[in-house]
């Protein structure tokens, strides 16, 4: 039984090359059929995400593993050339036998991802496997390989801290908001300044359920633009403090030289907030929110440094988990290959 993996990922190839390899979901069936036919493969799964395109295959009839790998690599190169690639050398990697299993287990665990420990890849692998399964392109070996990979991915995530903590400013802000308010569905957000960082952080909040978004910006056009993109409403910049008593999260990133949010404004708002907490996120440099506000009761203030250092700590924590994850993967890969052979 030959088990191989041929692919290209973000570590080896830039996006302009990776995009030529991408296999859109509607073409998966066709690609699977052609590759199985041309390479005489029993089974094949195509994993195509923004960071990687990988072909996992197994064959009973192919004489050697190397032969099988070469056939897949040849197919991929031909396809890429057919799309008019100007790259003379395509940095494909190949893994065979136990190394192919080990690689898939690493991918499923998020160890091979751009953001270490991310979980999105797990769902993408499942989707790729189901597409192949629907085409009848998986049988004994790849079924067992992918089922094992899903189990290993879950095991690594539950037994280690590889996905612990948030690794970006936006996700740290979301984590903090959840630890202050619990469910974010009913949270109301006020955005001061319509810059890019506000947009990305608001997107993170919206992805966890925030629906009520108000944007205040000195240029009302920009406020309207961001508000419409986020499904919120725009507000004249001078009016933002009037709605503070009905707001839960303030996200500020204006280019003002002085503090925009002052202790007096917050103190006045807190008196009308009936004991509800207020979360202030200051993403601006120079800062928009007076740090003296931090001393106010029931108000939680985080500036860009605090958010970035938290994200950085989480990244370091994840990096320290790699060795533990690799141990689990090694143990599982050996066990899988012993059972397979």
């Amino acid at each position: 039984m030959s088990l191989v993996c041929v692919g290209i990922n973000h570590q080896l190839a830039p996006v302009d090359l990776r995009e030529r390899f991408a296999v859109p979901e509607h073409s998966v069936a066709d690609v699977l059929e052609r590759i199985r036919e041309s390479s005489q493969l029993e089974e094949c799964v195509v994993v195509s995400t923004c960071n990687r395109v990988e072909f996992y295959a197994s064959a009973d009839t192919t004489p050697t593993v190397g032969n099988c790998t070469e056939k897949i690599a040849g197919f991929v190169r031909e396809n890429v050339s057919a799309q008019g690639s100007t790259h003379t050398e395509i940095p494909l990697y190949t893994h065979e036998g136990i190394n192919a299993a080990r690689h898939l287990f690493r991918v499923a665990s998020g160890l091979d991802s751009m953001v270490l420990g991310e979980t999105e890849i797990f769902g993408q692998l499942k989707r790729a496997y189901h597409l192949a399964q629907r085409q009848g392109a998986t049988r004994g070996a790849l079924n067992r390989l992918f089922q094992s990979a899903f189990r290993v991915g879950k095991r690594v995530r539950s037994e280690t801290d590889i996905q612990r903590g948030a690794t970006s400013v936006g996700s740290v802000a979301v984590d903090l908001a959840e630890k202050i308010f619990g469910n974010l569905d009913a949270c109301r957000v006020l955005i001061l300044g319509a810059g890019e960082i506000s947009r990305t952080t608001t997107k993170s909040l919206a992805s966890r359920g925030v629906q009520d978004i108000t944007v205040a910006n000195r240029s009302i056009e920009k406020a309207l633009e961001l508000a419409s993109a986020m499904g919120g409403r725009a507000l004249a910049f001078n009016d933002w403090s009037n709605c503070l008593n009905s707001i839960d999260i303030v996200l500020s990133s204006t280019s003002a030289a002085q503090y925009v949010v002052t202790p007096e404004a917050i103190r006045a708002a807190m008196a009308r907030r009936k004991g509800n907490p207020l979360f202030l996120i200051d993403l601006a440099v120079p800062r928009d929110i007076d740090p003296a506000i931090e001393t106010l009761d029931n108000v939680y203030l985080y500036d860009i440094d605090a958010l970035q250092s938290t994200a950085s700590r989480a990244r370091k924590l994840r990096e320290r988990q790699i060795a533990i994850c690799e141990q689990v993967i090694e143990e599982e890969a050996r066990d899988f290959f012993r059972r397979l052979s």
Binding site: S158, D161, R164, G165, D175, L176, E178, K179, I180, F181, G182, K274, G275, N276, P277, E294, D297, N298, Y300, Y302, A306, T310, R313
Partner: protein
Amino acid sequence: MAISANLASTFLCGAVLCFLAATALAIVELTRGNRHARTPTLLLMATGFVLQTLYLHYQGEMRGRCPITTLPEILIFLSWSTVLLYFMVGQAFHLSLLGVFTAPLVAGFTLIGLAGGAVTKIPTPPLNPVDPWLEAHASVSIISYGAFTLATVAATMFLVQHKLLKSRKLTQLFYNLPSVNYLAKALKRLIVTGFALLSIGIATAFLLHTFPGWSKILLASSVWLAYGALLLVDRCRRMSPRDLARASLWLFALPIITLGLLGRS
């Protein structure tokens, strides 16, 4: 009757072991973030609760009445009511971690109760006739103390999470604790529950065949007045959750002191 005493003793020892094991697992869960420890902690708490219930049954059989007549018995009943409320409130508020903080507290109460002689060796002649109002008065009053105990647990958790958020120390503990908003709501509801139950407990004292005496009524009323004043101040002046949590921590000394005095009288 000797069999009942042995069974009561065995069940109580078993309950102590369960709560101690739950405490150990809780520490692992908190410090190492082992999410697999959550279900066993819950199961251990549930087993401890069942064993405590069985103890109360056999001890009640020996006593011929509700076993809340001595301080050790009151402590056991208090820890039983705390666990009961934890299962009711913890689940309702999705505060599974409340158990992590509750386990050491109830383990401590049960252990002190066991060491203090909560198991009767010689049966007591049953009260004749048993006054149902007395049983209701005593048990509802102690369950109200259970609510205050759990409010203290929620207040502690709130203050810990609040401190972590303010100091920006986003440790393992931070990720394991519930949100400050949930904890503040749970704290307020538990104080209201305790206050309502204690009001019923005190009211039923006036329906007893034998009046329990003004000293007991005054002790219970001091707790009732203190928590009532806290709720009144909160309602009129909108206390911040931090101030409410701090105040409820200080106030918890009062139920503990009065419990000791009630147990002696």
